[in-house]
């Protein structure tokens, strides 16, 4: 069955330079550097990436950063907590806007 998302396509990610090389090269160099050990460990960055992958709901990134997290020694509990952080921020981001709704309600109510 054909679907828009095919796990095999993830393997082709490195080939996006075929249509625009210099930008792809810059992107991959930047991407590589971002995930190096730094002030944050590579493991912490992997967990952030996993959370963001869930926030933006990218199935490629979810697959990739689940494997990456396992390789870097994260356990299921830590990975699930990372997803909860994404979920909490998403929920919070919706809920914090309710202050606008509340303001408006109060503004136009007697």
């Amino acid at each position: 069955m054909k679907t828009y998302y095919d796990p095999e396509d993830l393997k082709k990610f490195g080939k996006i330079g075929e249509f625009q090389k210099s930008m792809a090269d810059k992107f991959f160099a930047y991407y590589g550097e971002v995930f190096q050990e730094g002030a944050l460990t590579a493991r912490e960055k992997s967990l952030i990436a996993l959370a963001v992958a869930h926030a933006i709901q990218c199935p490629y990134c979810i697959d990739a950063y689940t494997v990456d997290g396992m390789e870097k020694g994260c356990d299921e509990e830590q990975m699930m907590e990372a997803v909860h952080v994404a979920a909490a921020i998403r929920a919070g981001a919706s809920l914090v806007h309710s202050t606008q709704m509340m303001n408006k309600v109060k503004e136009i109510s007697m």
Partner: protein, 347 residues
């Protein structure tokens, strides 16, 4: 759980295993990959390590075991073969003697053997690959930490994770708790403690169809967690990739991960790791005295290629140093990412 051999599983037949690795070849062969970086045929650098497998008997039946070891395996090294090993150790400048199994301590002549090696080579590194739980398996093994200390043995032990769920999933129910107790006993006699000179190194194998991450990063995490939760110290963590043979191969096939795992290994091929594979400076001795390029080849019954020095009793250093190493698709496990050997990452 029984060994594959006791189950009469097709994968306990090494011919079948090799056929499978050959026939399900994904993409390129290992020899072609070596040729690309000028390493084919693969030759030894110099033999520095003698790894001796004292037998397939073990008190555990880990799911990923490349030896297919377990309590139902009765193949152990005979006293006479151990004497033949000692002759070689006496004659040659072997810097490291690495004792493995199964659980090497279950061989009834284990202690005698360690004592003799130490007498012959006071300065050599003697490694024992101790599965930890053996120390608590029977009162007769309780003094092992003290025995190791007295003979200045380096202890290398597997601990796939710092939590019980993952460790027990790979190594069996209750293994984590016993391993922690054993590590604390080793710490008590000085192992893994600063300036004691008693080396305690841990081995990390991924508990599933994925590759190990950075050895440094995992070591930091293991040290932090084991110290804060259990007060345990150790020296280094060795990350080891699971090779697609024996029980791990059975797992890969059963879980439908075989092809993607092989693809991953091939994709992650690293020429630097390839030039540092452990078979270039190691000879592995089987429980029956036959010689192999490594413990993995031993389990696949791929003897060293040189006909005139295939058994410890016929040991000829020159011939062995000039042999061609026997390779196959499983070797991709040693060259993926940062590489993998009995001493951890290689690149």
């Amino acid at each position: 759980m029984k060994s594959l051999k006791a189950q009469n599983h097709p994968l306990s037949n090494t011919q079948y295993e090799l056929q499978l690795l050959e026939s399900q070849k994904t993409g390129i062969s290992f020899s072609e990959k070596l040729a690309e970086c000028g390493l084919y045929p693969l030759l030894p650098t110099q033999i520095e390590i003698l790894q001796i497998n004292l037998g397939k008997m073990c008190n555990q039946v880990c799911k990923h075991c490349h030896v297919d070891a377990g309590p139902d395996r009765k193949e152990i090294m005979a006293f006479e073969t151990m004497q033949e090993c000692l002759e070689v150790i006496k004659k040659h400048d072997v810097g490291t003697v690495d004792l493995t199994g199964g659980a090497p301590e279950m061989n009834p002549h284990f202690k005698w053997f360690v004592e003799k090696i130490r007498q012959l080579k006071p300065k050599a590194t003697i490694i024992v690959r101790c599965n930890l739980t053996i120390i608590l398996a029977n009162p007769k093994f309780k003094d092992l930490p003290e025995f190791f200390r007295q003979h200045q043995v380096e202890v290398v032990s597997s601990l796939p994770y710092f939590t019980a769920i993952k460790t027990d999933a790979q190594r069996g129910e209750g293994v984590f708790e016993k391993s922690i107790k054993a590590l604390q006993m080793l710490n008590m006699v000085g192992y893994g403690q600063e300036n004691s000179g008693l080396m305690l190194n841990l081995v990390y194998n991924p508990a599933g169809a994925f590759l190990p991450g950075s050895q440094e990063g995992l070591e930091t995490e293991f040290k932090k967690r084991l110290k804060s939760q259990y007060g345990i110290s150790f020296n280094s963590l060795y990350t080891i990739t699971n090779l697609p043979i024996s029980r791990f191969l059975e797992y890969l096939l059963r879980s439908g991960n075989y092809e993607s795992y092989m693809e991953k290994l091939i994709e992650a091929y690293n020429p630097i790791a390839a030039s540092n594979v452990m078979c270039r400076n190691t000879i592995s001795v089987g429980w029956d005295g036959y010689l192999y390029d490594c413990d993995f080849n031993q389990m696949l019954e791929l003897k060293v290629s040189c006909q005139n020095s295939q058994h410890i009793k016929d040991w000829n250093l020159e011939i062995l140093n000039n042999r061609e190493i026997v390779i196959n698709q499983h070797c991709f496990g040693c060259t993926a990412g940062a590489g993998s050997s009995c001493g951890g990452a290689t690149a």
